[in-house]
Each structure stands twice: as structure tokens, then as C-alpha cells.
Amino acid sequence: MAGHDELREQAGLYVLGALTPAEQAAFEAHLATCGECAAEVRTLSSVAGALVHAVPQSEPSPALRARVLAAVGASPSTAAQRTIAPEAAIARDTASAADTTIARDARVAPDARFGPEASIVRTNTLAPWLAAAASLALAVALGAYAAMLRTRVGDLEVRLRQATLRADASERQVADARRTAADAQSEVAVLAAPDLARIDLAGQPAAPQASARAFWSRSRGLVFTASNLPAPPAGRTYQLWILTAQPAPVSAGLLKPDANGRVNAVFETPPDLPKPTAMAVTIEPDGGVPAPTGDKYLVGLATSL
């Protein structure tokens, strides 16, 4: 069982639903006994509530309204299941859908559940059969009409969907362009920072051809470029380490060279990170590790600018 501090760290993940099922069960058990964590969850949960509404708002197609109302209304609701027979549902549908004269006929249906009107009708023995025949004919006619409408709605939906997909594709292109611009902006931000440090990294015996350069600023983050890095073996990954005056190296993140052995990456660094004195790239198991264990591929000392 994890300790309180460790569990408290999980409150945010819990609120977002990002814990694994086992972690979630453990956290909920803890939550029942810990007022502090419950309070943390309560304040963070307002954020989750806001996230529901924070998505870009867009309008569903007008055809969806008709589709939902038709499909959903066709099945009885909870209370209706208990009190209204299926024939009654048809009669009710026709009353709203058909023109008023036909609807009036449909309401004279032969069933005691329809209320006082029905008992009056019952005095004439023929009337129930006529009414039943009328509702049947009406149901058939409405069925054909509904089928025709469905075809037309279906056709319109297809056309609308195609238009929406085209619009989506252009939105995606705009989003891609925006992302590229944002990446470029953060690179510029790092390079223009007043507290900039530069670190040139040289290839080690494991990769003598490799080289890299990093620019770091406490306020703006880290820009890292490398070339001639060999592709990592399967199940292994490159990890970038920042060395400071403190004894433990700090992981900046994982590096993924492209097919040409190049890396172009921007990392955030903790705001309380001391000024880097050196950086190193090591080879580590996939997913990265908390402290370096593998061979060094690139190493370099900081130069102040």
C-alpha cells in the first residue's frame, strides 16, 4: 500500500480518470479515510468539470434532431413502459404526425386504457373494429411516408457529412500549421532568453560521429539538436540528462532520432533547476529511467553566453 504523500500525488490523475483500475481502487479506499485527499479531489474536480465545457463548440447536423427524436421516441420511456400499451404509442405518434382529421379517428381506439372516451365507443360493437382498421391503415400509410422521409434525410445526411469532413480536413491543416508555428516560437523564445546557456555535446566512443548542441534558459526551457545519432537498438531509447551543481543528473526527456540520425526537440525544464554545468545523452531501456544507467553517447560542458 502506497503512503499518503504518494497517494495525494494521485489526486489529479484520479480526477481525470487517468489512474489504472488497480490504482483507482486503492486511491478510493484511501479517499474514504483521508479528509485532506478528499478536499484535494474536490478542488481539482472543478477543473474536470470545466474541461467538459472547454472543448470547441460545434453544432450537430439539423438532421440529427429528427433522427434522435424519431429513434428515441419509438421506444417507451421508463414510466411509459408500465402504463402505456404499444398501440397507444402508435396512436400518440400519429396524433402528432398526421393531419388533424386522421388523428381524431386514431384517438377513438378500442381500449379501456385510453380513458373515458373508450367506454363510450364500446357501446357500439362495430366501432372498435372500424377504429382498429382505421388505425392499421393509418399506420401502414405513415410507415410508407416515414420510409420516404428516411431516405431523403439519409441522402441529406450523407451530403452534409461529406461537407463536414471537407471542413474538418482544412481545420486539421490549420491546426498542423499552428502547431509548427508554436514549436518554432518556443525555439525562438529559448534562443532570445537573457539567461541563455549553450552546451556543445561531442560523440563518445559508442557514437564517434554524433554531435549535438543545446540551448537552455531557466525561464524558457531547452532546445536540443543532434545529428548522426545511430538508431537505438530495439527496446532501447536515448535519454537526455542535465548535470548541475547537485549530485543527481536530471532527466530532460527522451530523444528519438529520425531516419537520418537527427533530433530536433524542445523540452520544458523544472523552474527550480540549477544552472546546467553539463549535459549527456545515454542509451536506456524504453520509457526512460530515473537515473542514467547506460553507455554515454554524447557529452558536453556548458558555456555561458
Partner: protein
């Protein structure tokens, strides 16, 4: 268990959201009696946010529309069992929408290791939000939306993968190729920043 914010305008500018909530309850009661107009009314008020959330999660207009239908179908079937203590109707509908959408997303990924999570999410979906709902104003939501856009890219992406794609932190770490601890820290920092933004707008 999900804590969903209800959109209630406490600024007193219009009180429209409070009125909507009262009207929502009345519409549900009418739906429980089999009244289709109640359903139409609920649809007109809430289809847009539910559709928008579903579209964000499923990334596909057809699936998002199917999901809206699923949510209203469930609302129709459960209208008679709706318990006021489960909170604001709008939040209930959105919670249903998010759970069902993430169910679909997980089914779409359909990797064997997802099945346990899938069951967990299916169970979550039936719990409903607890009674201590947070109440958010329209202004607060606008601020959170803006704050979300201002988060460092990786923090924002981590939050979005968790909330809109239903990934666990372990899956997020794998997707972003970041160590687990880094992902946890990023999500925590981002949530605290968003929460402070929210607190600052009360």
C-alpha cells in the same frame, strides 16, 4: 466516480442556467410520462455541448452524432428513474456522454490490455456524479479554456490525453515517450494552474 461541474451562472447576470436546470428537471419528468416534447426540449438545450464533447473525444462527426443519440436514448429510458440527488441534469447528460464516448474509443483501440479498463469505465458510467457538484459560471469556463491554451504544450497534451482520450498515466507516458514521473508531475502542475485560474475568477 466523476465530479462534473454544472454550468450555473452565479453572477446573477441572467440566472438563465438556473432556470434551465429547473426546466430540465421538468422536461425529464414529462419524458418519464412518455411526452416527446420533453425530449425535444432537452435535446434543444443540451445536444450542442454533448455533440461537441463527443466530437472532441471521437474525432468523427458520424460517431459523435451516434453518441448523441445514445445519450438521449438512455436519458429517455432512465427519465423515470432520474434521482434529483444525482445532481444537475446537464452534468448527468455530459457525464453519460463522456463515459460512453471513452467506452467507444477504448473499444476502437481494442487491445486486450484495455479490457480491464473498459469494464472499469463501464461501471463508472452508471455511478453518476456525486451530489457535491461544483458550480461553474460561464466566465469561469471561458477562463479555463483560455488557461488550457496557455499551458506549456506537453502539459496540455498530457491533460488532453487523459481527459479526452481516456488514457491512463502509464499509457500517456508511453505515447509521449516521457518517463512516468514526468507525466505525473506535468498533469499535476497543469491541474493546479487551471484550478488557480478557476479560483481567481470566482
Amino acid at each position: 466516480m466523476w465530479f462534473l461541474g454544472a454550468v450555473v451562472d452565479r453572477s446573477g447576470l441572467s440566472g438563465r442556467w438556473v432556470e434551465d436546470h429547473v426546466a430540465d428537471r421538468a422536461a425529464l419528468a414529462r419524458m418519464a410520462r412518455g411526452d416527446h416534447d420533453g425530449l425535444a426540449e432537452l435535446y434543444d438545450r443540451h445536444a450542442r455541448p454533448i455533440y461537441s464533447l463527443a466530437l472532441r473525444i471521437l474525432q468523427n462527426p458520424t460517431d459523435a452524432e451516434d453518441l448523441v443519440q445514445e445519450v438521449f436514448s438512455q436519458a429517455w429510458q432512465q427519465a423515470g428513474r432520474y434521482d434529483a440527488s444525482r445532481g444537475v441534469v446537464a452534468a448527468w447528460l455530459l457525464m453519460l456522454g463522456r463515459s460512453r464516448a471513452i467506452d467507444r474509443l477504448r473499444a476502437r483501440r481494442a487491445r486486450p490490455e484495455d479490457r480491464a479498463d473498459e469494464r472499469a469505465v463501464a461501471n463508472i458510467a452508471d455511478l453518476g456524479p456525486p451530489p457535491d457538484l461544483q458550480v461553474l459560471s460561464v466566465e469561469q469556463i471561458a477562463c479555463v479554456r483560455a488557461a488550457l491554451g496557455e499551458l506549456p504544450v506537453l502539459q496540455r497534451v498530457a491533460i488532453e490525453l487523459a481527459y479526452y482520450e481516456g488514457l491512463t498515466h502509464v499509457e500517456i507516458a508511453a505515447r509521449l515517450e516521457q518517463p512516468l514521473g514526468t507525466v505525473k508531475t506535468r498533469i499535476r502542475l497543469a491541474l493546479i494552474k487551471l484550478r488557480d485560474t478557476l479560483a481567481g475568477t470566482v
